[in-house]
């Protein structure tokens, strides 16, 4: 009874493996200062894998998080963290700093 499930899983893997390498990677950057993102609205191309550098200029750590982008990453104070997401469908994808959610809010706009 296990075999069909595994066969389906492997077929899905095999089918997608070919296309997975085709993603183009686009770099982007964003800063965090006084628990606010700059810019608060970030434009990225849709359909591409995004490599986003988050420069935390505060002294305190922050967790860059987005349910929509499926990302969560702790970025220590005074350091730059790398997050990867996408490829995205066109749309708006909110993100926030979990440790300072009242001020640290932003949105990725994929076009």
């Amino acid at each position: 009874m296990f075999r069909p499930a595994f066969a389906v899983a492997f077929a899905m893997l095999a089918a997608s493996a070919g296309s997975a390498t085709a993603f183009e990677i686009v770099s982007a950057g964003i800063a965090l200062k006084d628990h606010r993102f700059d810019p608060q609205e970030l434009q990225v191309p849709a359909g591409k894998r995004i490599l986003l550098k988050v420069d935390n200029q505060d002294a305190t750590p922050e967790e860059f998080e987005s349910h929509e982008l499926k990302v969560e990453k702790v970025i220590p104070g005074g350091s730059t963290g790398t997050v990867r997401f996408g490829p995205l469908d066109p749309g708006r994808y909110p993100f926030f700093g979990e440790f300072n959610e009242s001020t640290a809010q932003g949105v990725v706009v994929a076009e």
Partner: protein, 274 residues
């Protein structure tokens, strides 16, 4: 203060539920308190170390160190849980019978309490390092810190209460069924962890196949809500799972069930007296 309480509670609940399940799964086994205590303390120590080296870990592997560390410890936990369930499939029946008969803790012989100690340690380490960083951030920012700090510490306390409740809840299950119930819980727990490992590997850029979201129930039951967190921990609920996460989830359940079947002793043709 409420905000800090919620943030910390959210992290601690996950570890608390896991420790509660492990406590129930080892009910009646001598020495479990010591092993689980070692696991939790080890996890706390590890959380501190991870927090201190957060910068170095984050920078490692082209900025994917944190994700890879998370994925690795999760997969170790999955392996430990699979080992535990396979062991219980072989020895659980005798163990349950003995506990029932003597009505007190039994020596488990070679029972892999170490495996479950590691699982507790990993659960505490993962959630704890974020709590440590968050509380450090509050402490470092000074002025308004005190109320937030108190909120955070109350959050930790809340997590301990959750551990107590999940354990006491499982204690209401009759001893006869307790190992079956915890076996199912541990299988789903492990499957959820495997899916979570896939999430981190995807984020790190190492496993991007089948990355499309299969469903989106975030409007109905967001994963960040308290119920969402509890279900996420217990059965691996995700409000936006990728296809690869589902594959990992199902594969983990199938593999663990297969291992338990293989490990189970051949059924004897003796009627088991009720």
């Amino acid at each position: 203060m409420i905000g800090a309480f919620i943030i910390v509670l959210r992290e601690v609940i996950e570890a608390g539920l896991i420790v509660g399940i492990v406590l129930a799964a080892t009910r009646g086994v001598a020495g479990r308190g010591r092993w689980i205590g070692i696991g939790v303390l080890g996890g706390l120590g590890g959380a501190g170390v991870v927090a201190i080296f957060a910068g170095a870990i984050s920078d490692a592997f082209e900025g994917s160190g944190q994700e890879l560390l998370n994925a690795c410890v999760l997969l170790v936990a999955v392996a430990m849980l699979a080992w535990h369930n396979a062991w219980m499939a072989r020895h659980g029946r005798e163990l349950a019978a003995e506990v029932r008969k003597v009505g007190r803790a039994v020596s488990a012989g070679d029972k892999p309490l170490t495996a479950l100690a590691v699982v507790c340690g990993i659960a505490v380490l993962r959630e704890g390092s974020e709590v440590v960083l968050f509380l450090y951030g509050i402490a470092a920012s000074g002025t308004t810190g005190m109320a937030l700090l108190i909120g955070g510490l109350l959050g930790v306390l809340g997590g301990v209460v959750v551990t107590g409740f999940s354990y006491l809840g499982l204690l209401t299950v009759p001893q006869r069924y307790i190992f079956s119930v915890t076996g199912v819980l541990i299988t789903l727990l492990a499957a959820g962890m495997a899916a979570q490992a896939v999430f981190y590997l995807d984020q790190a850029g190492y496993l991007t196949v089948l990355g499309k979201t299969v469903w989106d129930t975030s409007a109905f039951l967001p994963q960040s809500s308290l119920l969402g967190i509890v279900l996420h921990t217990l059965v691996g609920y995700s409000d936006r799972p990728s296809a690869m996460q589902l594959v990992a989830y199902v594969a983990t359940v199938l593999i663990m069930v297969a291992l338990m079947r293989i490990a189970a002793p051949p059924r004897r043709m003796i009627a088991v007296g009720g």
